[in-house]
């Protein structure tokens, strides 16, 4: 299930059957004097699991936020599903966002709503995705994918951290996105629950045929899930390749991640 292709530079990765879903070139983003992204490049293809690693504060979350326009980049090309993100108007952006799921670092469940209402919430604005589909059906199906049907009427505060992550995942997949962005899906979880989340991510990918961009600190996680990895250092895509290829690298900056 996990194929590993050794790639040294981004331009080499061109499998003609795979569509280019995200194309980021020379992306720059600063907060005042703090330059976070300084010319970042990244390509995500369909059916790919791309893992991004980088130190805390290196700008991984900022990168994901740029992709869904929660942050606006200062310059650079940012193309998602063939659309130029910075130039879209609000309506076009909302349509695009329906195809790009986002799993937040802290789950970000709406704490004044039950699990059911949390899952129904994104459906409210996307009637085009619903046509004749029964909402209840959709909610239960999404919860079933993460094994939490029994929690449908609970409040977020009644859930454990791992359950919250799974509910957040269910809320993300309910719109059947083509791409899912995961911001540290295993952080704060014990190794067993983390494994469960990995399995879920792989299951979901199989079931809905999504491409994933995954941020993680957990190298075991990366080894199992990554088709390809990008190392974010000093605001650029410092190195790229399969887990095995990067693991064998002699560069001290890369080695630091693999201990």
């Amino acid at each position: 299930m996990i194929e590993q292709t050794a790639i040294e530079t981004p331009s080499v990765y061109t499998d003609s059957t795979d569509e280019l879903l995200i194309d980021i070139r020379d992306l720059r983003k600063s907060f005042g004097k703090n330059a976070v992204l300084k010319g970042f490049n990244l390509q995500l293809h369909s059916r790919e699991n791309l893992v991004i690693i980088g130190r805390s504060g290196s700008g991984k979350s900022v990168l994901l936020k740029c992709i869904v326009r929660l942050e606006r980049p200062d310059s650079g090309l940012l193309n998602v599903l063939g659309r130029d993100v910075p130039s879209l108007n609000q309506t076009e952006m909302d349509l695009l966002r329906a195809d790009v799921g986002f799993l937040f670092q802290g789950s970000a469940l709406y704490d004044s709503m039950t699990v059911r209402e949390n899952l129904e919430f994104p459906l409210r604005r996307h009637p085009e995705k619903l046509r004749d589909i029964d909402i209840e059906q959709l909610v239960l199906e999404a919860l079933d994918s993460v094994g939490l049907v029994y929690a449908v009427d609970l409040m977020p505060e009644e859930l454990s951290g791992g359950m919250k992550k799974r509910v957040a995942l269910a809320r993300t997949i309910i719109l059947r996105p083509k791409i899912i962005l995961y911001d540290e899906p295993s952080s704060g979880l014990d190794p067993i629950t983390a494994k469960e989340i990995i399995k879920l991510i792989l299951d979901i990918q199989e079931k809905y045929n999504t491409a994933s961009l995954i941020i993680t600190h957990d190298m075991d996680f990366a080894r199992i899930i990554a088709n390809r990895m990008v190392i974010l250092v000093d605001g650029i895509n410092y190195a790229e390749g399969s887990y095995a290829a990067l693991n064998n690298s002699d560069d001290p900056k890369i080695k630091a991640f693999f201990k």
Binding site: K65, V68, L70, Q90, D94, L95, R97, A98, V100, F102, F104, Q105, G106, A108, L109, Y110, D111, S112, F121, P122, R124, R125, H126, R171, L175
Partner: protein
């Protein structure tokens, strides 16, 4: 110097926030269901407090002014005086201050924690405009509900005052309220209601502004709630001052 700059900066930002509120208020889609829910929640949350304080205010005011009025032999004017004081000033101001404390801080903390835990971002990425869904509904609900709360508070204050007058001065229900309505005109009621709309708007606006732009971290949420109360109370007095100046011009005419 720095504080003066911060003050003007903050004023500018809040004005911008208010302008955005009006722009988004008239834009589709409308969040009617959420607006109704907020009206119910905000009204329900503060009704009890408003009614209790209103009742006590009525009693206290009557007990304290009564001896002086009797000394002047102006006992008969008690209902009229209390009526005017409560409707024109005390009712709106006390209600608004209580709501600033109770609801302003609540909104600040709620939106602040939603900002900190990325719930606002999550709304945005699921294609729901968080400003419309969270901010527009809350400011509108507060603007609509405060006048109703003020009317409730006025009524209960007068009732409290009547109880004292009835016990101490043997004034009957009909006599008391006919005296009150003898002096109270629409000229008292209307400005006070209009003023209350502005008070409600100020409380909602400041609470939402502070929460929506809350700094990250738990400390940020606490600060948002706290400064929402301080700033909106201050703003209430400024609005009250302006309102009195304006109504005074009308009374002169």
């Amino acid at each position: 110097m720095n504080r003066v700059l911060t003050f003007f900066n903050e004023t500018g930002l809040i004005t911008q926030f208010a302008a955005r509120y009006f722009r988004e208020l008239v834009k589709r889609p409308f969040e009617f269901k959420e607006l109704l829910r907020q009206c119910y929640l905000l009204g329900n949350k503060s009704l009890f407090l408003v009614v209790v304080t209103g009742f006590i205010m009525g009693i206290v005011l009557t007990l304290q002014t009564r001896p002086t009025m009797i000394e002047f032999g102006a006992e008969a004017y008690m209902p009229s005086m209390i009526g005017i004081a409560v409707v024109r000033e005390i009712g709106p101001m006390i209600t608004a201050l209580i709501c600033a404390g109770k609801i302003g801080s609540g909104i600040g903390a709620e939106l602040g924690s939603m900002r900190v835990t990325e719930q606002i971002d999550a709304m945005e990425v699921s294609g729901i405009n968080p400003f419309k869904y969270l901010v527009v509904t809350r400011i509108t609900a507060m603007t609509l509900m405060l006048p109703l709360l003020v009317i409730a508070s006025d009524t209960i204050s007068l009732f409290g005052s009547f109880l004292i007058e009835n016990m101490k001065g043997d004034v009957s229900w009909t006599l008391y309220f006919s005296k009150v309505f003898e002096v109270l005109e629409f000229g008292d009621l209307i400005p006070s209601i209009i003023k209350s709309f502005f008070f409600g708007f100020a409380i909602g606006l400041v609470g939402c502004y502070k929460g929506y732009y809350s700094k990250k971290g738990t400390a940020g949420v606490g600060k948002a709630a706290n400064s929402a109360v301080v700033l909106s109370s201050l703003l209430l007095f400024v609005f009250d001052f302006v309102a009195v100046l304006i109504t005074d011009i009308f009374y002169e005419l």
